[in-house]
């Protein structure tokens, strides 16, 4: 018996003027799976995640979460779905005007109308889960290093105990040790919550560590997907070139002359 997909994309297309970023993407993500999308810069990874989150409206296709097409939902229904989703942004996207604990508790206070005191206790607990002490809770995001900001972003993503967590380039801009720490935290948090994880990255060490399934996006198409164990032996020239980071191969990087 096959389980119904947690996330399903069918024929999703998105263009910006003459530029076709997504060209009919089909994708299924099973419950509790950690699906990682790889691909070079500008291949549409971020656009895909933004379409799923409702930050961008696709031109065509459907996006289902738990079997319901989110593109046809009313705003209030959509907000209900969003309550079960967490997101870690590439630059953490912490709110500068709020202290760390309020950033972490934001979804609880604003989204779930929880009392501030109770939300603060949960925020401190979530910060501890990502390895940050309670004294960090009262700092401003600008006082934190990049790695700490990512941890706070992760604590915010898991604060509402979501079913699905999205990670947008979680290790970009971090040193290799901190990147590995963040990868471990992602695995740990996702496991504890029993959540489905959807990550976009071009960091192959991150892919090998956190993914159970991998898909590659190229020129708006999902050109390959399969188990992470097969990523080094995919039989796809594009995937091989990307995974091994070779300049020679079918993928041509657009480089402008100086």
């Amino acid at each position: 018996m096959t389980t119904a997909p947690k996330i399903r994309l069918s024929g999703v297309s998105k263009s910006f003027g003459p530029k076709h970023v997504l060209r009919g993407v089909d994708l299924d993500v099973s419950p509790q799976e950690s699906f990682v999308i790889i691909g070079g810069s500008g291949t549409g990874k971020s656009v895909m995640i933004k379409c799923i989150l409702g930050l961008l409206q696709p031109d065509a296709g459907s996006i289902e979460i738990d079997g319901r097409n989110v593109l046809k939902m009313k705003a209030s229904e959509r907000r209900e779905v969003m309550r079960r989703i967490g997101m870690l942004f590439q630059g953490a996207a912490l709110f500068d005007s709020l202290p760390v604990w309020e950033n972490v508790a934001f979804g609880l206070i604003q989204g779930q109308r929880m009392a501030r005191r109770q939300a603060r206790d949960i925020a401190v607990e979530k910060l501890a889960q990502v390895g940050l002490t309670a004294d960090v809770a009262y700092l401003s995001p600008s006082e934190l290093s990049g790695g700490m900001q990512k941890r706070v972003g992760l604590a915010r993503a898991i604060a509402t105990e979501p079913d699905i967590i999205f990670f947008d380039e979680p290790t970009t801009g971090l040193d290799p040790i901190m990147a590995d720490v963040i990868n471990d935290l992602i695995i740990d948090c996702v496991k504890k919550l029993g959540a489905t994880a959807f990550t976009i990255t071009h960091d192959m060490s991150s892919v090998r560590k956190i993914a159970s399934k991998v898909g590659m996006l190229y020129e708006g198409h999902l050109i390959w997907h399969g188990s992470v164990k097969k990523v080094d032996d995919s039989g796809n020239d594009y995937v091989d070139q990307f995974v091994h980071g070779r300049a020679d191969g079918p993928i041509r990087m657009p480089v402008k002359k100086a």
């Binding site: 930050l55 997101m87 500068d96 934001f106 979804g107 604003q110």
Partner: protein, 257 residues
């Protein structure tokens, strides 16, 4: 031919921009009257727009009142009409200079800051983060600012009116040697409720314009630091122009008989 094409292009760019602004305004206004409300955020914005603008608005008002008294004296003394100075000062300040100058100063201070703050939130994905945290950005970011602008600008202008008239009084009494009681009597004699009310109505409209332009340009900024800079400039310039245009329209409605 190129000239005509340029005009056509400008018109085609302008019309969708008007549409986008209209949709943004309607969406924001609808969120101003629908719960949930954010009293904490509204309070913070009221403090930012009202209290922290007091020094700059007060300084502008006092020197405007002082200059007005001096200039009126140099003109009116030629016709032996010095007694009209107090009336000219109070009417000019309450009807026009108080709201317009306070509006322009607040546009420079608050409108720019709003555009920069919201613009930075846009380019650093903080606005996207709001959406993913089940929070409507218009309701959380724009509505509190619009409400605070609508309430605080009239308060600021009321203070500016008092300080401006006081500036005229200082010059009239201590420099031009008018009798203090006579100056005050002349100030009150021709002042009508409508003079003050029209100024306060203008202030409310200007408060709305300033916050709307700050939020709109910040919300739609793109392209990193340069985009945020452009949004800030556009917010101040568009708010200033709209203040001057709407000032004429409101004056025409109140006094254009």
């Amino acid at each position: 031919m190129k000239f005509v094409a340029a005009i056509g292009r400008a018109v085609l760019d302008f019309l969708p921009a008007i549409g986008r602004l209209a949709i943004f305004t309607a969406t924001s206004l609808s969120h101003c009257v629908r719960p949930p409300f954010y009293p904490r955020l509204i309070g913070r914005q009221m403090l930012d727009i009202g209290y922290y603008s007091l020094p700059v608005v007060g300084l502008t008002a006092i020197f405007t009142g002082m200059v007005l008294a001096l200039q009126s004296y140099s003109g009116f003394s030629r016709f032996n009409a010095e007694s009209a100075i107090a009336t000219v000062v109070v009417l000019s300040v309450t009807r026009e200079l108080g709201p317009v100058l306070a509006g322009l100063m607040v546009a420079g201070r608050v409108g720019a800051a709003m555009a920069a703050e919201i613009g930075t939130m846009r380019v650093t994905e903080q606005i996207d983060a709001l959406t993913t945290l089940s929070t409507q950005p218009h309701k959380y970011l724009v509505a509190p600012r619009l409400i605070a602008g609508l309430i605080m600008l009239p308060c600021l202008v009321l203070v500016a009116d008092i300080i401006g008239v006081f500036g005229g009084y200082l010059v009239g009494v201590y420099k031009l040697n008018f009798n203090a009681a006579t100056y005050l009597a002349n100030t009150w004699q021709y002042l009508e409720t409508l003079d003050v009310v029209s100024g306060l109505v203008k202030a409310a409209v200007f408060g709305f314009i300033i916050t709307l332009m700050g939020c709109y340009h910040g919300y739609n900024s793109k392209g990193g630091a340069q985009g945020v800079g452009a949004a800030t400039t556009n917010a101040v310039v568009s708010a200033s122009i709209l203040i001057l245009v709407s000032n004429y329209l409101i004056t025409a409605i109140f006094f254009g008989k």
